[in-house]
Amino acid sequence: MIAPAGSTHGSTHDHVATHDHAAADILLRVQDLKVWFPITEGLLIERHIGDVRAVDGVSFELRKGETLGLVGESGCGKSTTGRAIVRLYKPTAGTIEFDGRDISGLDGKELQQLRRRFQMIFQDPYASLNPRMTAGNTVSEPLDVHGVGTKAERRERVRDLFSTVGLNPDYAVRYPHEFSGGQRQRIGVARALALDPDLIVADEPISALDVSIQAQVINLLERLQDRLGLTYLFIAHDLSVVRHISDRIAVMYLGRIVETAPSRELNSRPLHPYSVALLSAVPIPDPKVERRRRRIILKGDVPSPVNPPSGCHFHTRCWLRERLGNPERCSAEVPLLRPLSTGHAVACHFAEEVDGSREQLQATGRGGADAMPAGGEAAAEAVPVSVPAAPVADDEALLVASPYATPQPTEAGALADLRMPLQPDPPAPARDARDET
């Protein structure tokens, strides 16, 4: 086994592997993961009448020392994916390869042994700590379960962990209610670190915290990663937080990954119509930027995962499909995640149409309110950008002006910058943002 403490970002990412990157670099490889929850009917004789397809064929890789952000709206399957990876759920299908070993079918002793190496941080620091256990016992429980060290050594380890996460070791004797929300989340982090794991799955670790406390926990997680060489799967609904902490981002919609990209790339050049809409919906705390942006208002709610739409799951709400005259292909054929440029893969039949589109420019704040792709070649397909006066029909996406938006001239430079041609190339290992700096 490879000692995680020895690996740092620099060392793990430096060698630019082309074909053999599968070897030592990959910590986690998830392939075609499906987690379906059966729906049954009948009291004595249960009949299987359907499935909630929470995760419906998800594949991704996670390299050592990397942070992958998994982002999407509630019900998209991001938390289920995280829980299946730490094997709190048994996958319905697919493989989860952890450090070269498929753990999707493991159970019993073997699973327990391997669990030391992947741990989880939960969203709600109030619900995930046992109110009747002291903070110290909570943090030491994994050590007890796995029989690590002597009692005295464990106590010493708990004190170490407390100072590592910024808690006074003397507080180990206190109970959860004596801590604030931020401190409780630190206890959760200490518990996850107790067994020196390689991978930490953090499921919305800061959403329950106040704004001013969130940054404390984000900084703590970043500091720990630098120090301990941890690998994170960071699950959150908030694109700006995910953007901050992740090297790469995977966007999920209705049980599937629709786009993966280096985090900067995803935010400056989203290529899936859903990612564009998601990005455009994130408010930016700057009125000047907000005035330049427009939101793509998706019509309606996410469809039910019991009976997801055929073909592309997003086709019922897709603004691009509408633009293209509702091509048959979207509802007939499941789009595969295909590489469009280095490290950037998109599951959309028409992703090329997204690049350089007005929607993309406006969502990223690069385009003016009525920015058009330079040259005017797209003028023919201009959609009137107006505020709808009446309720709109189902299955319709609208590009509406932010009500506070006033048209602003476009910066030509920003446009040119974004209209680089797409180069489809083989799935090379994604270079992440950290390498470049």
């Binding site: 709206e73 206190r174 704004v211 001013s212 694109l239 919906a281 408010p283 009125p287 189902d394």
Partner: protein, 428 residues
């Protein structure tokens, strides 16, 4: 259309009078654990058609301020203990309960964070909407029903005729919030108070709902008070912003001015502790150390002093009043020319606001008087790298890591939380 504070005509409902004029509002909650100083002398005004953002963390008094305005404070614990709330020429604080009930719903409408708790789960949307309309407008039920259908259509609910018969649980979260908006706007109120209207919603649904609120209030000229913890939401939705901390307004300015030139250390801190989806690579977050003060036991000085890197000795003893950023300038309380005001003895310079930490040579945050909480040198702050010496150009005062007197003090209160008073909550 601006009103200067001293010149506000007291009683005439003229064009010059703001729609809402809150002065020195003081709200206290008397609990077994002591008195909670929820709102501590808040004054602000709102013009007709103006959109005001109220920003702050949980417990800063932003929601309580508005519950006090509409006289919905939880009784008997919550009481308005001072100040006045003039709305459209009437003082809501001294008004009869029955008169207040008339105004609520008709002139002032509210939307809350969780639409499920605001809607009655055992009545259909139809029954609830008609009840609201008929209670304030004497009109036949059939007309009220037609109006309800019209309203549901207006907020973008498909097949309004059919959906009117549904119960609240049959709607999704976003749709429920639309129903709430339809009900709030049913009587064409003059003021809409939206308390974290989108916090429980997904971001794409949040965009739908904010767009809807914005469009409808603009169309009808309704004034808006938008309460939120999210600076991103107010940036796009409001004309003016009040930032609240520990029951005080600590900064107020027009929206453009506030983001251009944030001037209170807390506002600066908030802006630097939120990651932005468009921020540059490697911009580190600068957290605000520690946590908000215990509202039962506010310090004498500035309530933000324990967490403030700019603090001076005076900050520990004197709570600064809300004053113009440019000393001596006349105070305009509302409208597009509203004066930028802050409550701070030692505001960050423009450059410091950009960097998020004090950068003047020789500045060291004033050490606290004996027994006072200091979040900057708390265990977590030091472990996290807190107020980094390079930010201060001088090593922080020699507070050693075991110096945890303050933390004991804060935890003493939390110990109470777990005691019998809150027992039912814990077990329930």
């Amino acid at each position: 259309m601006t009103t200067t504070l001293p010149a506000a005509p007291p009683d005439r409902a003229g064009a010059l009078e703001p729609l809402l004029d809150v002065r020195d509002l003081l709200v206290r909650f008397r609990t077994h654990d002591g008195t909670i100083h929820a709102v501590n002398g808040v004054s602000f005004q709102l013009q007709r058609g103006e959109r005001l953002g109220l920003v702050g963390e949980s417990g800063c008094g932003k929601s309580v301020t508005n519950l006090a305005i509409i006289r919905l404070l939880p009784k008997p614990a919550g009481r308005i203990e001072g100040g006045s709330v003039r709305f459209d020429g009437q003082d809501l604080v001294t008004l009869d309960e029955s008169d207040v009930r008339e105004i609520r719903g008709r002139d002032i409408a509210m939307i809350f964070q969780d639409p499920m708790t605001s809607l009655n789960p055992v009545l259909t949307v139809e029954e609830q909407m008609i009840e609201t309309i008929v209670a304030h407008r004497k009109m036949p039920k059939a007309d009220a029903r037609a109006r309800a259908v019209e309203l549901l259509g207006m907020v973008g609910i498909p097949q309004p005729e059919k959906r009117l018969k549904s119960f609240p649980h049959q709607f999704s979260g976003g749709m429920r919030q639309r129903v709430m908006i339809a009900m709030a706007l049913a009587l064409e109120p003059k003021l809409l108070i939206a308390d974290e209207p989108t916090t429980a919603l997904d971001v794409t649904i949040q965009a739908q709902v904010l767009e809807l609120i914005s469009r409808l209030t603009t169309e009808t000229g309704t004034s808006l008070v938008l309460i939120t913890h999210d600076l991103g939401v107010v940036a796009g939705m409001t004309d003016r912003i009040n930032v609240m901390y520990a029951g005080f307004i600590i900064e107020t300015a027009t929206t453009g001015e506030l983001f251009d030139r944030p001037s209170h250390p807390y506002t600066v801190g908030l802006l630097h502790s939120m990651p932005r989806v468009d921020d540059r690579e490697g911009d580190p977050l600068i957290p605000i150390e520690g946590r908000p003060p215990d509202m039962r036991n506010l310090p004498n000085g500035c309530p933000f002093a324990p967490r403030c890197a700019w603090r001076l000795p005076i900050c520990w003893s004197d709570n600064p009043p809300l004053e113009p950023v440019v000393p001596g300038s006349p105070v305009v309380a509302s409208g597009p020319a509203a004066t930028h005001r802050i409550a701070c003895h030692n505001p960050p310079t423009a450059e410091e606001a950009v960097h998020g930490h004090p950068s003047r040579p020789g500045h060291v945050p004033a050490p606290p008087p004996a027994g006072q909480l200091d979040e900057l040198t708390s265990y977590a702050a030091l472990a996290d790298g807190g107020v980094r010496p390079e930010h201060l150009q001088v090593a922080p005062a020699a507070h050693d890591i075991d110096h945890e007197v303050p933390a004991r003090h804060e935890n003493a209160h939390h110990h109470h939380d777990g005691d019998d008073h809150h027992g039912p909550e814990d077990s329930g």
